[in-house]
Subunit: 261 residues, 2 copies
Amino acid sequence: MPHHLIRKLDPCASFSTDDRQMLQQLVRDAVCFSPNQDLIEEGVALRHVRVILEGWACCYKQLDDGRRQIIAYLIPGDVCSTPLNFPNAVNYSVRALTIGRSAQINGRDIVSAMERSPGIARAFWFDMLATSAIQREWTANAGLRTARERIAHLFCEIIIRMRAVGLADDDSCTLPITQEDLGETVGLSTVHVNRILQELRAAGLITLKRQLLTIPDFAALQRLAQFNDNYLCRAGPVYRANHAPAPHQLAALIAGNALGV
Amino acid sequence: MPHHLIRKLDPCASFSTDDRQMLQQLVRDAVCFSPNQDLIEEGVALRHVRVILEGWACCYKQLDDGRRQIIAYLIPGDVCSTPLNFPNAVNYSVRALTIGRSAQINGRDIVSAMERSPGIARAFWFDMLATSAIQREWTANAGLRTARERIAHLFCEIIIRMRAVGLADDDSCTLPITQEDLGETVGLSTVHVNRILQELRAAGLITLKRQLLTIPDFAALQRLAQFNDNYLCRAGPVYRANHAPAPHQLAALIAGNALGV
DNA sequence: CGCATCCTTGATTTCATTCAAGGATTGTGG
DNA sequence: CCACAATCCTTGAATGAAATCAAGGATGCG
């Protein structure tokens, strides 16, 4: 069932057949969600890791005066929180952007699965670090790029991530978010997002209609955005001689600490 | 020797005496650094975890055209990369901002220490998650706050972090960074940072002279920045047995699907 | 003392927001 | 299947925030 999750992590974690099966069984209790439904509310202490099976959601922070910042998009295969959440009250909220389905992995189960299987341990480690890398890139994106570049950069990221879970054609994928959402993602007003989109369209860099994003010339958009895909870590871990912990070490490591989940 | 590291992590990890001693021995090969010296260069595969002992450094990303974004400050007790860097080529650089000293922990050693001691494992886990939380907050800071608020927010964070390692007096700490650095941190030009600082000074919210930052009325600055310190996770993990949903959450739970909590 | 870095100030231009309104799409119920 | 409402997208004009340009002043360092 967690098809996209496995698909995303497999190239990096090199799952065994058992690993895949274990993951299948781990992910349970699928439920549907609909747009604007809160999947996780800030301040809540989690006992499960929620996985997006279908549809999109976003992590966001909101100020008292209503201003909102989207800090991450969650697409199929993404988890809503860290698999081992230590200070286990989350400090952001998660809200559905479309209809979709999510399921959950019990906190205890995930720990014991990581104990038993190095492949699964690697997978979740890897996913955590990849998520952090994206977050760093988003910080940089909001801080140093122009409006045009920010949006172009976001689109480059999205299509690559969608491809990684098999949800993008060669040059297009769904983009089920409003221009208001886009604005709250890259720190621009809705009106300005609209104008930038039209510029990008006029320049032939994208088409975006009925929630279908197409990037006819990826290299061109990438150049505009100064997009460097290294942060998406799709190549899998670099196993260079002496640093990467051996599988048995990882297992012991995780077993060693009963982490508040 | 890693005095600040222990001091920072102790309240969250509850070290044993052995843990403290083990950490002492783990951190080795102290060397001095000086301003603008690169401690880590993007793309390099790390075999050690570098720890800041004294002085400040920053993590940054740079575009081809020279624009630079500081994505994190490293103060004494901070590590320059994740303790288990799986896709182990870092995608950011680290540069010293002041003179100072750093040391390193061997990758293998850190793993085996985490294996042997739950306290040490907890500590590094905790530190990783806390770092991620800061990164999320920075993304939001750059995206949704005004210039004034951004700088105020940064100052609130810095003084709290400095306090956590015993490097802040009641209401002041050193801030050894130029206005240009500040600009590259919050996404503003140097000139504009200068003007905002003067506004904050004129409003009596800060003094900043000779690299000494003073916040006479923290609550006031916090209010201006809409600063919520929950993301700094200084309280330690939340060991709540069961999370009881608040009334307004109950309503949502009953109405829709029981999600995640 | 003199150089280099950093800070400060004013004037101007650019970029982005806000305000306001009209048009297009989508979804819903009759 | 159509009418209607709600949401979303689009456009223009006016305002505001921040960047840029250009210099002068302060501070610290050798």
